[in-house]
């Protein structure tokens, strides 16, 4: 499987071993992002990095796991409940004058959003490359949900992210 090196800037301690070992100079860039056009995927930099800052990622991801319909239906129902809670907590926070409750409600809507993201990830939206993600983006392109919907963003995503499943 073809792979590419990526550097996690939060972990990189700038001790530069990867610059010495890379056979193509891909790791030596002005913005610290490894040059994908130069990287040949040999993995030498990842092995050499003392900080574990470089990962080798596949160019093509395997299809995500299929989910049972019954599980997805229940997950979606729970996701709708979370969406209402998030909206409600956000709305309440916006109108809240008491400083403590404002912070608590802010924490609630952020928390609920994180939980919902995790829920939906497991309910068929793990990978941006998945057939589900593509189906969603395409549906927005074909019938935008509202006149001012950011159709251009959906279009660009479809162009930039290849689908890794046959629909």
């Amino acid at each position: 499987m073809k792979r590419l090196a990526v550097r996690n800037l939060r972990l990189c301690t700038k001790d530069c071993l990867c610059l010495y070992v890379c056979p193509t100079g891909a790791t030596d860039t002005e913005n610290s992002i490894i040059d994908t056009t130069k990287c040949v995927g040999c993995g030498v930099c990842a092995d050499a990095c003392p900080s574990g800052a470089i990962s080798m990622v596949p160019v093509q991801y395997p299809p995500q796991q299929k989910k049972a319909e019954g599980v997805v239906a229940l997950a979606n129902a729970l996701a709708e409940s979370k969406a209402v809670q998030e909206g409600m907590a956000r709305q309440l926070a916006e109108g809240e004058q008491a400083p403590g409750l404002f912070r608590l409600l802010t924490a609630v809507y952020r928390s609920v959003r994180l939980v919902n993201e995790d829920l939906l990830r497991e309910a068929g939206y793990m990978l941006p490359q998945s057939a589900n993600s593509h189906k969603l983006l395409k549906s927005w392109l074909e019938t935008p949900p509202s006149p001012d919907f950011p159709v251009e963003a959906a279009k660009q995503l479809l162009e930039r992210i290849p689908c890794n499943e046959t629909e």
Binding site: P99, A107, V108, S111, E117, P128
Partner: protein, 214 residues
């Protein structure tokens, strides 16, 4: 003498060691590890809490192929995270743009209140999670079981914190901080973030402090 286990982080309260029966602890006693309230503890004897399969499936209206704008916003912000993990920053930004639009497009909630919020949270705990856990177990879907374990704990904590706020009001949060685990959403009230997230085990720097209104 018995032991009581924190339902959030697994901390064990040993009555013998502490010298105070668990039930005799004051009502505002909280878990020394994760800050969960007394109610979130259960006695160790019964071992695991009852398996959540009993409560039966919740009723579904219509086909759940169409998600609402609010849920779709979370789909998009989740896919933005997926792009970030793959180091695709531009794609992540595009998904975030969609997520932002959809969040703004979600209709306002007409009857919002802290009580109503608590009701919805309790409904997830009594119906949503048990039903989803049972279905995931039946299918051997361990990914979904994981998010049920995490999500349920996080949701229980939200219930406990909102209840405590209702009892104690602003005094509960005066001179202390509110933290959110940026990975699993666990909310913690205390001066500093826990060293490890009691739910997903990430280190304290993954916690974000909730800022007050400026």
């Amino acid at each position: 003498m018995s032991k009581w286990i924190c339902g959030i982080c697994g901390y064990v309260y040993d009555e013998e060691k502490e010298g105070v029966p668990f039930r005799a602890l004051p009502e505002d006693w909280v878990c020394p590890l994760c800050g969960a309230g007394k109610r979130l503890f259960s006695p160790q004897e019964g071992q695991q809490p009852a398996p959540p399969s009993a409560s039966g499936p919740i009723s579904l209206q219509g086909e759940w192929t169409e998600l609402s704008a609010g849920a779709l916003s979370a789909v998009c912000s989740n896919l933005a995270r997926g792009c970030e993990k793959q180091y695709q920053e531009q794609e992540a930004a595009l998904f975030r743009e969609l997520a932002g639009f959809l969040a703004a497009a979600a209709p306002p909630v007409p009857d919002g209140s802290v009580d109503r919020l608590l009701e919805l949270i309790r409904q997830d705990l009594s119906q949503g999670y048990p039903a989803l856990t049972a279905a995931a177990q039946a299918e051997g879907d361990r990914g979904t079981q994981r998010i049920c374990v995490w999500g349920e704990k996080v949701t229980r904590m939200l219930e406990a914190l909102l209840e405590r706020y209702r009892r104690e009001g602003e005094a509960f949060l005066r001179d202390t901080n509110v933290w959110v685990c940026s990975v699993c959403g666990f909310v913690y009230v205390g001066d500093s973030a826990p060293q490890l997230c009691p739910v997903c085990k990430v280190p304290d720097w993954k916690f974000e402090r909730v800022e007050g209104r400026r």
